[in-house]
Symmetry: C2
Subunit: 202 residues, 2 copies
C-alpha cells in the first residue's frame, strides 16, 4: 500500500518561507536560502553512476512519488506559476474551498481540485499513485492538516542551516498529540540535513 509522505524544506528556526510571502515572492524574503542546497544539484535527472547525498535524496523522492497532494497556494505558485519543465510529473490533488474542473498543464500531469478535505484528497491520491507513494508537498497548512488527520505515514524535513527570523512556520501551534515520530534516517551534507521520521499513532 502506498506510503503517504511529506517532504518539505525548513530553516533551523522552523520556517518554510520568509516574511512577506505572496504572489511573485512565493518563498518570502530570504526564503530562497532554505533551498540553496538544491540549486547546485545535477545528475538528478539522469543516472550518472554516482550521486552525492543530496542528489540521492532528491532522486529517491522523485521516483517514489506517484501522486501529489498540495494546498491551493502551492498550486498557484509551484504548479501553475512555475516555468517549464513542469515541476510535478504525476497527478496532483489540490486542496481548495472552490470546486473547479481539473486542469492539465501543457506537457504535465493533471491537477484535480478537491473540496472534501485532506483525507479525501489523500484517498484520491492513493488511487492515482497505484503502487507508488503519495507525496504531500505543502505548504505548511497542508502538512499540518495531514498530521492532525492522521493520514501522514512519513515526514521528511530538509533542514537548512539558516535563521530567517520570521515568516511561515512549518509547525505553528501544532501538537499532533496522538502522533509518534521515530527517526528512521538522517543524512547530512554541508548545506542541509535530510531528516526522515515515521509517523504513527501512539
Amino acid at each position: 500500500m502506498s506510503v503517504v509522505f511529506a517532504s518539505i524544506g525548513m530553516s533551523l528556526d522552523g520556517y518554510i518561507a520568509g516574511p512577506n510571502a505572496g504572489p511573485g515572492n512565493a518563498l518570502g524574503d530570504g526564503g530562497h536560502r532554505i533551498h540553496e542546497w538544491a540549486l547546485d544539484l545535477d545528475g538528478v535527472e539522469e543516472d550518472q553512476g554516482h550521486e552525492d547525498a543530496d542528489e540521492h535524496v532528491v532522486r529517491e523522492i522523485r521516483l517514489r512519488a506517484g501522486a501529489y497532494v498540495m494546498g491551493r497556494w502551492m498550486f498557484d505558485e509551484g504548479g501553475a506559476g512555475r516555468p517549464d519543465p513542469p515541476p510535478f510529473r504525476a497527478p496532483a490533488f489540490v486542496l481548495t474551498h472552490h470546486a473547479r474542473e481539473p486542469w492539465t498543464r501543457r506537457r504535465g500531469a493533471p491537477f484535480t481540485f478537491v473540496t472534501g478535505g485532506v483525507t479525501t484528497a489523500v484517498e484520491q491520491a492513493r488511487d492515482a499513485a497505484r503502487d507508488k507513494d503519495v507525496q504531500v508537498v505543502g505548504g505548511a497548512t497542508t502538512v499540518q492538516q495531514c498530521l492532525e488527520a492522521g493520514v501522514l505515514d512519513e515526514l521528511q524535513i530538509h533542514l537548512a542551516p539558516v535563521l530567517l527570523g520570521s515568516g511561515v512556520r512549518l509547525f505553528d501551534r501544532v501538537t499532533a498529540g496522538g502522533r509518534r515520530f521515530d527517526t528512521t534516517r538522517v543524512i547530512g551534507s554541508r548545506g542541509v540535513t535530510h531528516l526522515r521520521y515515521r509517523v504513527s499513532d501512539t
Copy 2:
C-alpha cells in the same frame, strides 16, 4: 584557543521547554520529552570500551567543557536547584542583572555572577577553561545573546522528534544576520538527531 559552543535540546517544532515553565516545572509541560533520549544513557561516566552514538555525544561534550556560561534561570533550576551529583563540574559564569558574591555548591565548582553582559561572561569563562572549551548551556535567551554578540563558534542542537505546540523557542525572531552556519556533523539515533554547526561571520 578555547572554542565557545552551545549545546541545547530542541523539539522538532523549535521549543527548548514546553508551556508554563517556571519554578518546579523547569522544562514546562511536556518539555521532558525533549530529553527522553538522554534518560536511558549509561556508561557515560565510565568508559566501558563501547558506547552508542548518544553516549558518545554526551561524553564528548562533558570532556570538552572547561567552563560554562548560563542564564540566571538555568542557574536557579539547573545549577542550584538540582539534586546531587552536581550537574556542572567546572566553573560556571551566570548572566544576571544583580551583582552577587560567587557561590560554590557542595562538591561542586564555583558559580560566578556576571553583570557585564554576555561578552564579558564568555571572556571570563575562556580564562577559566584554560585549554578546554567553553559551553553555553542556555537558556534560549543566553544562546540568542551569544549568537547576536558574535561570540559563539559552534552550535549543537539535539533535535528530538516531538512536537510541543507551544513553550519557549530556541530561536524567537533571531536573525543573527551576520552569522553563517555550516553543518559540520550530524549524528542520528532513533530518539534524537545531534546537529553540529560551525558559526562564523559571513
